[in-house]
Amino acid sequence: MKNFLYPGMLVVTVLFSRCGNIPESAGTDSLWDDRTVEVATSTVPCDDEALLTGGMEISGDRFVMYNISQPDLFGCFRLRNDSLVFVAPLQKRGNGPYEALMSQAVFMPECDGLFLIDRQTGRKAFRIDSADPEKWSDVKSWRAFELPNKPNLMSIVPTDCSGGFIAQLLDDRRHMFCTFRSGDSTVAPLSIPYPEVSEGCPDISLGIACRGTLQKRPGSQEYVFSAQNSRYVVVFSLKEGQAADIRLLYDTPPQFTLASDGINPRISGETLSGFYVQATRKYIYLTPRNHRDADTKALERSPAFGTAYETFVFDWEGNPVRKILADKPLQTVAFTDDDRFLYAKTADPQQSDECLVRGRILPTE
């Protein structure tokens, strides 16, 4: 693994007592008052394997569930008569040629493909023909892509079906993202700077404090990035390899202090957590993380740790479309690619175990 050298970093540790800006108001935004859609959820009958999920990717009737601690990274399911039926496991957890310790699954409708991107090492990715889940585990049919193997890349997402990728760049405050092609040893930085914070914070500290999730708009070269630790959401396009049409949906950078080593950021609990983000052809979905005391204080209703009732929906021009308000606190919320349903995990008060639920989203008008 390539390493960074930062000599003398310990010396400057005590120089920084605080990094980050004053947070935005935690009050409820009246913007959503007349755009709220209430969604009633109901339990989805499913095989037990689905309940172990830490999230899901949906394409048509095909579901890829992230496994938290099982030997396989994913479970593949199909929707049959409104029930989720287990099809097969996908990708072993390990260090073998087709294995990974943690992967990101990304559907690419442009080529009817399913990408599995190694998130732990950033060394490899695979493209699978996604038409038939029964054949997904046949590794002989997988197309492999070599990634740059740089530890400063996060949230790698394919830009096309033939080996183009985009990622968050952790250690360059002037370039938040970069692109590269399979087989490249170098990356091409994009001119989107990290948010301004107090002078003096090391670039790598800022990068980690602002780490987040990139999502591609299907069928387009538009992208949305949502930071994990604060409400900072940026939308941009790729045009001829350059960033264009950059706009912020939320502009609060994270507050953090530096740990005693002078590099690691300690995220402040005073600001609101960032959003989970999902992109479809029409919309950007932002679901609050609610992992801090400050989050629950700011909400109309107080969900349990890591759950949310609401999701904010924007179009790709950045206009607010609707606020989806569920009838119970949800975890690992995912939306179908036709924007008609949400799926999530929840603790059903009528049962002792967790369950999967589905809600139909009706238009605001």
Binding site: F4, R93, I204, I208, R289
Partner: protein, 96 residues
């Protein structure tokens, strides 16, 4: 019940593994082997902050694949390596 049993087994395995890793880490006085890191990462459970004394960054388990606790570790040769613990966040509630 099946779900709970699996989680209990996983939690027990994680706890015992972390204890062993913690012990091993203490024996090597700060050097972190790839195997140890792989074990930490594969577990996907909250990490005792004492396990990474140079960083002191605890991770909090969320169970969501989009969450990632990211931190740098200092190795014995003076280099700094970013590490990622998925299904977790950098714990904002931790007070050293």
């Amino acid at each position: 019940m099946k779900t709970k049993s699996v989680f209990l087994l996983a939690a027990a395995t994680a706890t015992s593994s972390l204890a062993y890793i913690n012990y091993s880490f203490a024996q090597t006085q700060g050097s972190v082997s790839d195997l140890t890191l792989a074990n930490i990462e594969a577990l996907n459970f909250s990490i005792d902050p004492e396990l990474i004394p140079s960083a002191g960054i605890p991770c909090k388990h969320t169970g969501n694949q989009e969450d990632c606790c990211t931190y740098y570790i200092h190795t014995s040769d003076g280099t700094v390596i970013p590490q990622h613990d998925f299904f977790c966040i950098n714990d904002p509630d931790y007070r050293p």
